[in-house]
């Protein structure tokens, strides 16, 4: 009869009952004590202390009222952090929920859905810090090292191929122009003339393998001849003069233009760099190498620079959390009665209509749980910003949690302002706390 308090049917002896109740309380106290101590000392006391501390100055000696909160909303780095965090809340929870929903719905249509889910869910096991390191490697600027820029570069160079001589410059004042608009001879040429187009700034590795020693072509009547060559040899050489040991530049597209503009003809240089335009009518012409020859190859998007750092960190974060959304929404999806969907299909609804009118409304509670969970997570985002963003752009990538840590522990050591930032963060998550408690009480 020891635990009689729970058995309503049997009327217990009053004294026994009182003793049992007392015993229950003592045992409960003993069972709760360790948790109460830990929660009291590590959560409740510090939380109260932080609130009080936020009204004192950096060292905690002088009461400063709401000065710390004023600073929070007036200093530039902190405003950037708040703005960035607002952007995070606006973009990331919605994207993660949407991606999770799409993945959850699509995986129902393949047989190897477990493999797909494991691949997408796996980053959840990795620390956000390590995930940041992973993406830092992906985001490297040089297309030779960063996989993302290598991929973009491969596409960009395929759509818009780089020129054969991307780094070349004119070797003498006889040529004008630059890599932007092409390089042209300053003086006009008449049929029978020879166009000497010396270029420098070309690395030995950029000279094509089939290149031979440059030759100064002979003049021919009715023809414009010329040579494009690498106007450089070990030891120097004279600018604008074809000398032994200097290499011709094959495969360069040369244009013959009217002196007033307008293209007459184009040709390509041979292995020794020479070219010719035959049967040219009498008149003044200009010889030029088009801009395409000098087009620079793709040199990488600066993901880790000031402008793109926040989207870059967000992408890494979504990579981590999409799996969470997919799995939770997937479980919700599995609980939807199949016959409901089948009924809609039998009534002639298209797949899209079934999704839009039946699946999504039925999933609404699960979707809102994912969305709210992601809002809390995003408000507290910290590690991944610290590991993706290089120190030099952390001011631009700043978020509230990072600002708090940097203010209190990152060199400034302003505990007053740091506490104020922590309290601000706490206030932001309180509405979510209220939601949680309400949901819990409804369930009871």
């Amino acid at each position: 009869m020891a635990g009689g308090g729970n058995i309503a049917a049997a009327p217990p002896v009053p004294r026994e009952r009182r003793r049992a109740r007392l015993r229950d309380r003592v045992v409960a106290g003993a069972f709760l004590l360790p948790a109460a101590v830990l929660l009291g000392v590590w959560l409740v006391y510090p939380a109260v202390n932080t609130v009080v501390r936020s009204f004192y100055d950096r060292s905690g000696d002088a009461f400063v009222g709401i000065d710390n909160y004023r600073t929070l909303f007036s200093s530039d780095p902190l405003l950037t952090a708040i703005r960035n965090n607002a952007l995070w809340v606006a973009v990331v929870p919605a994207l993660v929920t949407a991606i999770g929903l799409i993945f959850a719905v699509l995986t129902e249509r393949i047989r190897w859905s477990v493999a797909f889910k494991v691949a997408v869910f796996m980053p959840m096991a990795i620390s956000l810090f390590a995930a940041g390191v992973i993406w830092r490697v992906m985001y490297e600027k040089e297309p030779d090292r960063g996989a993302i820029n290598a991929t973009i570069g491969a596409v960009a160079d395929w759509v818009d191929p780089p020129g054969v001589l991307s780094s070349a410059r004119a070797s003498s004042p006889a040529l004008a122009g630059g890599t932007g608009g092409g390089i042209a001879l300053r003086d006009t040429v008449r049929p029978g003339g020879v166009a000497l187009m010396g270029l420098t700034g070309i690395r030995a590795s950029e000279v094509p393998d089939d290149a031979r020693e440059a030759v100064r072509p002979a003049s021919r009547p009715g023809t414009v001849t010329g040579v494009v060559w690498r106007d450089f040899r070990p030891g120097g050489g004279r600018a604008g003069v074809v000398e032994p040991g200097e290499s011709g530049l094959p495969g360069v597209t040369v244009e013959l233009r009217h002196s007033g503009g307008g293209r007459v003809a184009t040709t390509e240089t041979g292995p020794d760099g020479t070219f010719r335009f035959d049967g040219v009518a009498d008149g003044d012409y200009r010889v030029a190498i088009g801009a395409a020859t000098f087009a620079a190859p793709f040199d990488g998007v600066n993901w880790l620079g000031q402008g793109l750092i926040t989207p870059a960190v967000m992408m890494a974060y979504i990579w981590v959390w999409a799996g969470f959304a997919m799995v939770v929404i997937g479980a919700g999806l599995a609980a939807i009665p199949r016959d409901l969907l089948e009924a809609a299909r039998t009534d002639g609804a298209s797949e899209w209509q079934v999704f839009r009118r039946v699946t999504v409304p039925l999933l609404a509670p699960v979707l809102s749980v994912v969305f709210i969970t992601m809002i809390i997570n995003v408000l507290k985002v910290f590690d991944i910003v610290l590991s993706v963003a290089p120190a030099s752009v952390q001011d631009d990538a700043n978020v509230i949690a990072l600002a708090m840590w940097r203010t209190a522990f990152g060199g400034t050591n302003d505990f007053g302002l740091g506490s104020a930032i922590a309290v601000f963060l706490f206030l932001l998550v309180i509405p979510v706390l209220a939601l949680n408690v309400r949901r819990f009480r409804r369930e009871q």
Binding site: L43, F116, V137, A331, I430
Partner: protein, 302 residues
């Protein structure tokens, strides 16, 4: 949504096994309409693996190549691969000792909240005492208190107590912040255990502690397993707490963090160290995937 409904990632895709096998023609049509989705998902799935594989291959690049070569070159030129970076990192005492620090923090930070949390959850689930529901609601409320709210006072407190920069200090912090979720998860699981089992043990004269150890803990094992995995991953993956409350007591995340300033030139240390740091959570995840997903659903859907 209850914890028992989900069984890991392998929830059967509905609609694939129902009814009799359709006719050949219908099956071909269905395969054709599904092919674009299958291809799309294959591409996405592979894309999702690329970053992690990229880190692994980067960490395996020859030390002489790692500064200048992209990891994808190792796919066509396996001569670029070597274990040299790992050998150097493991020979370097700092990284190995920080790995051990991580292990101790994770083991302590997993066991302690489970024990303390299970005791409290038992009281909330099975014992009568005044204010029980309100106390439990407070615990649920504590779930969302950000770690940042405790850092500054605990930093000062640890300095006063002399446990700043100690493993025990970090474990206690992890324990306290793991408790709300632990109590919440375990209590919700415990209330599902039939009370008759308890009453029977009580009538047999077993003490509450004995009932807790002999009856409730074994029956609560699925929930405890979920909690253990969560807590382990959480403590193993922590950066913020160790960075704030330690200086020389560096778990692996902090050790890598201190190398990040020279990201370009230190990549031969950072890449293998980062990969070592994530291999263990990944192994735990693959081994106990089912419990992990269950805990996730219990924590978020409830």
């Amino acid at each position: 949504m209850t914890t028992t409904e989900a069984s890991g990632l392998a929830t059967a895709p509905p609609g694939t096994r129902e009814g009799a096998r359709p006719a050949v023609g219908a099956r071909i049509t269905r395969m054709l309409t599904r092919a674009p989705i299958a291809i799309l998902l294959a591409v996405i799935g592979i894309a999702w693996l690329v970053p992690t594989v990229g880190l692994l291959l980067t960490s395996l690049l020859l030390p002489s190549e790692i500064q200048s070569t992209g990891w994808w070159h190792t796919i066509t030129d396996t001569g670029l691969l070597s274990l040299e970076n790992y050998r150097r990192v493991l020979d370097d005492g700092a990284i190995t000792s920080s790995l051990w620090t991580t292990v101790w923090i994770s083991v302590g930070g997993t066991l302690l909240p489970i024990i303390v949390g299970a005791l409290a959850a038992y009281a909330f689930a099975f014992l009568e005492f005044p204010g029980r529901d309100w106390l439990f609601i407070i615990v649920v409320g504590l779930l969302v208190v950000p770690i940042q709210m405790a850092l500054i006072p605990i930093f000062s407190l640890y300095n006063d107590l002399g446990i700043f920069d100690t493993i025990i200090g970090l474990i206690l912090f992890h324990t306290a912040f793991g408790l709300p979720f632990a109590i919440f998860l375990l209590r919700n699981f415990f209330v599902g255990i039939p009370r008759e089992l308890l009453e029977a043990a009580r009538i047999d004269g077993a003490s509450e502690l004995r009932i807790f150890v002999r009856v409730i803990l074994p029956l609560g094992l699925p929930a405890i397993a979920s909690l253990a995995i969560f807590q382990f991953l959480w403590t193993w993956n922590d950066l913020l707490i160790a960075l704030t409350l330690g200086r020389d007591t560096q778990p692996i995340t902090v050790a890598i963090f201190s190398q990040l300033r020279q990201f370009g030139s230190n990549i031969e240390i950072i890449a293998p160290a980062a990969f070592i740091s994530l291999v263990i959570p990944l192994a735990v995840f693959f081994a106990f995937q089912r419990y992990f997903v269950q805990g996730l659903l219990a924590g978020s859907v409830k």
